[in-house]
Amino acid sequence: MPGFLFYIFAAITLFFGVAVVVLRNPVASAMALVMSFTGVAALFISLDAYFIGTLQILVYAGAVMVLFLFILMLLDIKAEAGKHTSFGTALAGIFLAVVFALQVVTVLAKFSDGDKTLESTPLQLNVAAAKSDLPTITNDLKAGTLPDAKLMGEVLFNQYPFHLQIVALLLLAGTVGVVVLSKRDRSEKEEAP
C-alpha cells in the first residue's frame, strides 16, 4: 500500500475519533464513530487482514453502530445535549490521554522490532504453499493470492474449535440476557393503570 494512503486513513481514524469525544450531539458522535471504524477497517486491509477488515465494517460500523443509533433515537437523547462538561473533568480526560500517548511514544522509541516495514517483511506465499495441507488453500497460494478467509477458517476450526463454541454460547447467553433485561417486570405492569 502506498504510504500516503496510510496517512489518509490514519488521519480519518483519529480525526473522527476526536470528533466522537468533542461533538455535543450523541447522534453526531455515533456517525463520527462509524467513520472512525471505517478508517480502522481500511488500516486492517492495508495489513493484509481482509477478513478482519470486512468484519470490522460489517459488525462494528454496521450492526453495532445501528444498535447505538437505534437506542439513541428510541430514547430521544438530544434533549441532554445542552448540559456542559465541567472544566475539571475535561482537563482530567485530556491529561490522561496526553500521559498515555507520551507513554506509548517512549515505549515505541525503544522497540527495536518496530522499524520493520511492510516491504521488509513481505508475505512469502510460495513458502506457505509448500507447508499447507489443504488443496484449496495451496492452490490459492500458488496462484499468488492470499486466501485470507480460508486461512482464518482453518485456524478457527482446527486450532480453536472449543473457543468458537464457547463464544457461540456467550452470544446465546447475551441474547437471553437482553430479552430478560428488556422485559418489564410483571408486577410493575399489573400496578400500572
Binding site: G3, F6, A10, L14, G17, V20, V21, P26, S29, A30, L33, V40, L43, F44, L47, I52, Q56, Y60, A63, V64, L67, F68, I77, E80, K83, T85, A90, G93, L96, A97, F100, A101, V104, L108, D113, G114, D115, K116, T117, L118, T121, L123, Q124, L125, V127, A128, K131, M152, E154, V155, L156, Q159, Y160, V167, L170, L171, G174, V178, L181, S182
Partner: protein, 105 residues
C-alpha cells in the same frame, strides 16, 4: 516507509482518545462508544503484530483469531450494555452518569 511503529502509534492515539472520552464525557452512551473505540485500538495493535510476525511466510493467524473473538465478545457486550442502559433510562429518565448514584453510600 510505513513501519510497525506507525500502526502502533495510531492505535495508541486512538486508545488515548477513547480514554479521554470515557473520563470527560457524562453521557453513558457516548462513554460506551469510547469504550468500543478503545477495544478497536487494541484490535489494531493485534492485527499489526500479526502482519509483522510472519509464520511460514503468512501473517500470524492466531492473533487474527483473537481479534475475531474480541469482535464477537464486543458485539455481545454492546447488546447487553445497551439493554442495561435502556433499563436505567426507564427508571431515571436520563442517560447522565451523575444521575446514577444508587450505589453511593
Amino acid at each position: 516507509m510505513i513501519t510497525l511503529n506507525h500502526y502502533l502509534f495510531v492505535a495508541g492515539l486512538l486508545f488515548a482518545i477513547g480514554l479521554a472520552g470515557v473520563v470527560a464525557r457524562r453521557n453513558i452512551l457516548v462513554i460506551y462508544m469510547c469504550l468500543e473505540m478503545m477495544l478497536t485500538a487494541a484490535n489494531l495493535t493485534l492485527v499489526a503484530f500479526s502482519r509483522f510476525h510472519l509464520h511460514d511466510g503468512l501473517p500470524d493467524y492466531s492473533a487474527q483469531a483473537l481479534v475475531f473473538f474480541t469482535i464477537t465478545v464486543a458485539a455481545a457486550e454492546v447488546a447487553v450494555g445497551l439493554a442495561i442502559i435502556v433499563a436505567l433510562f426507564r427508571t431515571k429518565q436520563s442517560v447522565d452518569v451523575e444521575s446514577v448514584t444508587k450505589l453511593q453510600g
